[in-house]
Each structure stands twice: as C-alpha cells, then as structure tokens.
Symmetry: C2
Subunit: 133 residues, 2 copies
DNA sequence: GATATTAAAGACTCTTAATATCTGTAATGT
DNA sequence: ACATTACAGATATTAAGAGTCTTTAATATC
C-alpha cells in the first residue's frame, strides 16, 4: 500500500520543469533520461498532468512540456489527484453509513490531504535551487 | 492505493471482540459470518493480530479469539501495522538522501500516523455501545 | 485415552492493478 | 514537404491482494 511510482515521477518532473529558466519547454526524452525511465512510459504520466492542467504540452519540433502559465500554484495534492485520481485510503467493508471506524480513518486521511494541499511545489523548487548553490 | 481489506476486517473484528462481555472468546466461525467472509480467510487475518499480541487465541473446543489481557490500549495504528506491516506511503524514486519531495511526503504521513496512533479502539467500542442503546 | 472442536500453517489459485513496451496517428515548427 | 514530438490504443509483464483447500497441532469434554 503506497503511492504509485507514477506519482513519484510526476512530482520530480514538476519540480524539474519549475526550475527551467523562463519556464521553457523540455522534451520527454530529456525528462525520461534524468529519471532513468523509458520516454514512452513517462509520456503517459505527463499526459495525465497535461489533462489536469498542471503543465502544457506542445507537439512538433522544439515542442515538449512546460509549467502551466495559467495555474501557478500547484500543490502536492494536485499532483497526487492528477495521477492517482480521487481515491480514499479506506472504505468500510460493511456499507452501513456512519461507521465509526470509517469516520476515524477518513478524518486522518483528510488531515493528511489538507497538509499536502498546503505544500506548494514552487516552494520546493525554490528550496532546491538555493540548496544547489 | 488504499489500505487492504484485511485491515478493514481486522479493525471491525477488534471492536467486536472488545464488546464481548467479560472479554470472552469468540470463534472464527461467528466472526466470519458477521462480516460475510469465509472462516479460512479471516483466520489468516486473525493470526496476524495474534502474533502482534493484540488478541489471544486458544485452539480446541470452546476456543476462539479474545482481546489480549496484557495489552489493553490498542490504537488504530497498531492494527494497521499488524496487518500491513511497517510500510511507508512514499519512497523517492531516485535514491539520493534528503530528497525534498520525499521529506514533505514523509512528514504528512507521519502526522497521519500520529493521529491514528492516538485513536484508541476502546473509545470506538464505547461509542458503539452507547450508540446501540 | 478417544473424540470432537478449533486455530495455525502451507500450498495453491484467481483476480486486479501497476508497470511498461510497442505501434501508429496527429500536431507543430523549419 | 519533412523532421520532430506529443498523444492514443493495444498489448504484454509483473506484483500484490484476495481467497480457497488441505493438513497439522492444540485443547476441552466425555
């Protein structure tokens, strides 16, 4: 029980794209090499991010992926939702409403998601930038 | 990405056992029927709880499972650990230490687990008891 | 001590989801 | 027109979860 590798790749890619000077495009080739992945597989992940509006894609020569210009503040939770969908960690096996056990689990999950929604990728990118110097 | 059904069954069984008057034993047969499961399958789940020391088992006639007498305060997290093992929701794909992304994910997970560690099954059992009346 | 009852252990099957690859198509710049 | 690159769909591979069956070991009752 863990977040998928796809989510992992997506997060790393997002930060990498944010570090591009001027928000310029990067091809899937380069992005895949960086993470030692096959371009075709990473492509599938990036398409999900594109559909979610977190990044923008331009096909053709000199094309690639870049951070969305319209959506500047993307959180960890945004990326997770884009890749994993709107999942929940726990569903009561017996489906009676108001299960006490389910309530507790849901509450804890909501709190975690709230925390991940407040963590912005831009902050991580900045931190990574200053760390490198 | 969600907690396994086994964890679900385990939590429900724990609460049920806590509601037994005098902490008496219940056979897997009865426990399985209650949750519409096969006894053999639930048996595997309960064995894990037994090995973790959360419940006690006695084979033979009039045997069954009952809440551990030595360990009175078991939390949601205890049960999760007993069934799922000590898993983490996120591991950085690139294994460089101090990955900023991993740090954020780990922190959120730890907070959630901290919350689940403070939620006691005995409280849920009490609540369920008073709710039934 | 024999017998019925019940948990434990192991091997095994089945299903599902994640992971990944390959091929062809559509879009874009030069 | 051509090279480049993202997108879509089909398909394979792998891993984990879910569940069953059979055998063995332990306990109580008679």
């Amino acid at each position: 029980m863990r977040y998928s590798n796809a989510t992992n790749y997506a997060l790393h890619t997002m930060v990498h794209l944010m570090l591009q000077p001027g928000g310029s495009s990067v091809g899937v080739q380069e992005l895949a090499e960086m993470q030692h992945l096959s371009p075709t597989y990473l492509s599938k992940v990036l398409t999900k991010l594109t559909k979610a509006g977190l990044i923008e894609s331009t096909p053709g020569a000199k094309g690639g992926y870049k951070i969305s210009r319209t959506k500047h503040e993307t959180s960890f939770l945004d990326v997770i939702h884009a890749i994993e969908g709107e999942t929940s960690l726990f569903d009561c096996s017996i489906h009676h409403q108001g299960c006490l056990i389910e309530n507790v689990m849901r509450q804890a999950e909501e709190n975690m998601k709230g925390e991940l929604a407040s963590k912005l990728l831009s902050d991580i990118a900045k931190e990574a930038e200053s760390k490198q110097k």
